[in-house]
Symmetry: C2
Subunit: 224 residues, 2 copies
DNA sequence: GTCTATACCCTGATAGAC
DNA sequence: GTCTATCAGGGTATAGAC
């Protein structure tokens, strides 16, 4: 079955908004990419912003099938799943020569008026992302120190991803991205070691030589 | 001496770009805010982008006097200086009802074409910011574990700031900002404790109950 | 160097035939 | 539902008198 006009528009807009941002993408760009004419677009969506809202819904709906499942294929350890998720963004950046980062983040920083409907959908996307990370942390809770607040840490993981993507795009280089993710990994190593020390109080919690560098390896493979 | 036309334009553009972003600020907006007429602007700057470049130079030039010195007034400890710097951004966000975040970051995510001159100046601003943080880390080096890479960690601090600002602006709330900065603080606490454990190998490196919550307090005060 | 007036283009959005 | 043609408005940038 051929995709509907609406589906073609959302798909094209999704790609263009991610690549060029919302403001820098003109309706004409979308029409051309979707092979649709102006009248048809405005038959389906009353305004350009309504199309953005549909795109943000599409992102939210596809977070599992388009993002999490590809990232987590073959990765079972919950902590490694977090770094596999970050590795997907690295893959996107490298693959697109730093054109494509996080579409939600790009649009988020374009918002300058309150603009409640758009902001709410952006927030919903961030929240769903963090919830997925928080679920991983919950799975690993027994290996983490008691004081760790899972939601707070999930926020920090999202912060790391968005900040790392921003630097990668600005420098057109993965160096700062890797530096950030490596630092987050170091933090996780310390947390895991701290919890181990607590469980086995006889052992000193020296800084562990980390062994799991697989976030770096995963990104070489295709995200399906 | 009255400010020159050029200075008034740069000042107005600096504020407007920070508040509304580059693309969403029209030349007409700048002219009105600066009390300058079109002909005068284009007598000084050939294009709007040239004005942006001047604004980015102004930021880079003012990083010490406008950002670091206010943030660090009365703060001598190098680690606390890092958190005082983050607290300034929190202050900006709260003070402007989440309108104003990091002007460099906002413009950075607006870039979608390679656009080398702008990108280079954004990168220079990021690099200068990280260099200031790295200098703090160098001052604290004796208290940090040997394995810590100062530049990598400085990148991570910038990542944390930018990601935290993005979330704060999206949610229009400091909650996720605070969660990220608190997590970074936790990481620093662990690093400092790890280094202490190394220096005094008899002591267990338990997770320390952190005492320094002053990043939260500093932001209440005026940044001068 | 500063002003007014305006050129020229691209934007989002619409009208109305088919 | 889809097409062509087009509108009204705001965008950057310019021309040219003073």
């Amino acid at each position: 079955m051929a995709p509907s006009t609406r589906a073609r528009l959302v798909e094209a807009a999704l790609r263009l908004f991610a690549e060029k941002g919302y403001g820098s993408t003109s309706v004409a760009d979308i029409l051309k990419a979707a092979g649709v004419h102006s009248g048809s677009l405005y038959h389906v969506f009353p305004t350009k912003q309504a199309l953005l809202l549909a795109v943000l819904d599409e992102y939210l709906e596809g977070i599992r099938s388009m993002l999490l499942e590809p990232a987590w294929a073959g990765v079972d350890d919950p902590v490694e799943r977090i770094f596999a998720l970050l590795a997907i963004y690295r893959h996107f950046l490298v693959e697109t020569d730093f054109l494509f980062g996080c579409p939600i983040g790009s649009v988020a920083l374009e918002l300058h008026e309150p603009d409640p409907p758009v902001r709410e959908k952006l927030a919903a996307n961030f929240t769903a992302w963090k919830k997925a990370v928080a679920a991983c942390l919950a799975d690993a809770q027994s290996r983490l120190p008691e004081h760790v607040d899972i939601n707070r840490l999930a926020s920090f993981v999202l912060t790391t991803m968005e900040g790392a993507v921003m630097q990668a795009r600005t420098y057109r280089s993965v160096e700062a991205f890797d530096a950030s993710v490596d630092s987050l990994r170091d933090y996780f190593d310390l947390l895991l070691a701290t919890a181990t020390a607590r469980q086995a109080p006889g052992a000193h919690a020296r800084h562990p030589r980390r062994v799991s560098r697989n976030a770096r390896n995963i990104q070489k493979g295709e995200p399906q």
